[in-house]
């Protein structure tokens, strides 16, 4: 993956984050969860591709799970203890995205904040630190 392609992931992550913010302000909390999650996922792919030779998992059902595990493996040596705790929520964030997209129940603002947004902010903050704050 060349540098332009990598940077495109950061651009897309920024777009998804902005769309998530817009959806949140509109009260479209399930849409916000989905967009915010993909912002995290694209930042994660960008970080993983900084490692030469990184090969993304194939398109299997659990490819996102594998990317998250790869991210843990790659990042944890350089993270502070509290940041490891923040990052360890990533799988739960992913599952919230799945529920937001496919389940019948709609998120309330309170559910959105407690179940998703606070954890999202923690993970996004540390990924932005790794990237250098260029994603938003």
């Amino acid at each position: 993956m060349n540098i332009t392609t990598k940077n495109n992931l950061i651009t897309k992550a920024g777009h998804n984050h902005l769309t998530g913010e817009w959806a949140e302000k509109q009260g479209y909390f399930d849409v916000a969860v989905s967009r915010y999650y993909y912002a995290l996922f694209q930042k994660s792919l960008f970080i993983l591709h900084l490692k030469p030779g990184y090969v993304e998992p194939g398109g299997a059902d659990n490819s996102h799970d594998k990317v998250i595990k790869d991210l843990y493996r790659e990042l944890y040596p350089q993270l502070k203890d509290e940041e490891i705790t923040w990052l360890a929520q990533f799988q739960k964030i992913k599952n919230h995205r799945r529920n937001a997209d496919y389940k019948h129940k709609m998120l309330t603002k309170n559910d959105f904040n407690l179940a998703f947004k606070y954890g999202y902010n923690q993970i996004a903050g540390l990924l932005d630190r790794i990237i250098g704050g260029s994603a938003q």
Binding site: I84, T85, G119
Partner: protein, 165 residues
């Protein structure tokens, strides 16, 4: 793939966590579809606002899991979403058992107060949840017949109510 060694480490993680936060309810399960050991608790204050907790948890995850090459774990606060008021009643702790008819007289003052008292003679209990008034639902309690005393006597952070759905 689930294995006993990893599960033992998960249990060790929980045990060590509870040496510092002995009232914290921590649960886990292995998700075979995602190949993930999912570990959760019900205290959002610790998860989002307590740096000592975040540092301690991170140190345990680093040493017990990541340093051992175990990356298929998930840890965090589990939020139990707000319930449909039509499906929920609140009662004071007592020896409620599944199948009991819940009297409308036991309805409490929760934010999810039922909008109807049209249950008439009562509502059968199918599941029982612990609850704290200052946060979200604290613990999803899958009730098992014969443990009603445990429900009635459990006290977590001054818990004053249980929910029956």
């Amino acid at each position: 793939m689930t294995n006993q060694i990893t599960e033992d480490i998960v249990k060790q993680f929980i045990t060590q966590l509870k040496t510092q936060w002995d009232n914290l309810v921590v649960e886990y399960r292995y998700d075979a579809d995602e190949d993930v050991w999912d570990i959760w608790h019900f205290n959002y204050g610790l998860q989002y606002n307590d740096m000592n907790f975040q540092k301690a948890v991170g140190k345990l995850i680093r040493t017990l899991f990541f340093d051992q090459g175990i990356f298929n774990i998930s840890f965090g606060y589990k939020h139990l979403p707000e319930f449909s008021t039509a499906e929920l009643v609140s009662i004071k702790p007592s020896s409620v058992t599944v199948g009991d008819s819940i009297s409308v007289e036991w309805l409490g003052g929760l934010q999810n107060k039922p909008n109807s008292l049209a249950y008439g003679g009562g509502k059968p209990a199918r599941n029982i949840y612990r609850y704290t008034a200052d946060s979200a639902l604290l613990c999803n309690y899958d009730y098992e017949p014969g443990t009603s005393n445990k429900i009635g006597t459990t006290t977590i952070n001054g818990e004053v109510e249980v929910l029956v759905a």
